[in-house]
């Protein structure tokens, strides 16, 4: 009983913070709410007996990705001290698409038999199982993922690198298309 109460609480936290992520009017708050969502998901992983994944989620996501997102918000500002607004457009379209996806998938879940069984007690997945699976059974995928991470890091550096003044910039466009209504504030 207490487990279901805990699940309800964590699920409510996850959904509410996810709603704040997509509804916040300030971009930096949305990025911080994402950290809350990821933390609540880590709690869900712990409730699902995936303690290693919960730890990885906290280290990699809450500690890594959300900080990266905050950097992304902070590094794309021209002036300091400006509240970055996150505009929301086409709300009816978004509500319709999200509701349609949720309706179809939730209906399919409700119609599928055999999903109401309570939590079984399978053999607990230990960290040894995960390690063996990673470096013995799925070693090819493991190597491919590590190579992909390397490529992604190199690609990110190449894309975001500040180019030398004499160097022909790739995809350079002069700053002439700052539209009216952007958050620019004249000093």
């Amino acid at each position: 009983m207490s487990a279901s109460v805990g699940f309800g609480f964590v699920a409510a936290c996850t959904l509410l913070s996810a709603l704040f992520v997509v509804r916040s009017q300030q971009l930096i708050r949305a990025a911080l709410w994402l950290g809350v969502t990821l933390l609540a998901t880590a709690a869900l992983y712990a409730m699902l007996d995936a303690s290693f994944l919960a730890g990885v989620q906290v280290l990699l996501y809450v500690g890594g990705v959300s900080v990266l997102m905050v950097f992304g918000v902070m590094m794309t500002r021209r002036h300091e001290g400006i509240v970055v607004e996150a505009e929301t457009v086409n709300v009816p379209r978004g509500v319709f698409a999200a509701g349609a996806v949720f309706g179809v998938v939730a209906g399919a879940i409700q119609m599928t038999p055999g999903l109401e069984a309570p939590l079984p007690t399978p053999p607990v997945v230990t960290i040894q199982d995960l390690g063996r699976g990673l470096v013995i059974d799925h070693v090819l995928a493991f190597e491919v993922v590590s190579f992909l991470l390397l490529i992604a890091v190199i690609g990110a550096i190449v894309i975001a690198r500040r180019r030398d003044p004499g160097e022909a910039p790739i995809g350079f466009m002069p700053r002439r298309k700052v539209p009216a209504g952007s958050q620019e504030v004249s000093p």
Binding site: A3, V22, Q57, G72, V89, G99, L119, L130
Partner: protein, 99 residues
């Protein structure tokens, strides 16, 4: 806490992500929404790993985590490039292939 509860929660998270993806205009906000959706997918992997037994689901979730981190790194690099070339990070500014 049954299997359908967990799946419904993941579906709701995914739908919230879709909503954000369609209604936001800032690239960073769109990346946040994509994070939400990837998070929902990971939750489904872990859920099935717990309810069906075996470590396969968790291993797949680990791979998925690594892929998402790579995606975020490249995405933020693109955001910075967009800011440097356009002075703003709205997606509809990047609608031409040539300057």
């Amino acid at each position: 806490m049954t299997l359908s509860h967990c799946l419904l929660l993941a579906t709701a998270l995914f739908s919230v992500g879709i909503y954000g993806l369609l209604t936001r205009r800032q690239v960073v906000a769109i990346l946040l929404s994509v994070e939400l959706m990837a998070n929902a997918a990971n939750l489904v992997f872990v859920t099935f790993s717990r309810f069906k037994g075996g470590a396969q689901g968790q291993i797949f979730a680990l791979f998925s985590l690594a892929l998402t981190v790579a995606e975020v790194a490249v995405g933020l690099a693109l955001v910075i490039l967009l800011y440097r070339t356009h002075g703003d990070t709205r997606v509809d500014l990047a609608s031409e292939m040539k300057s």
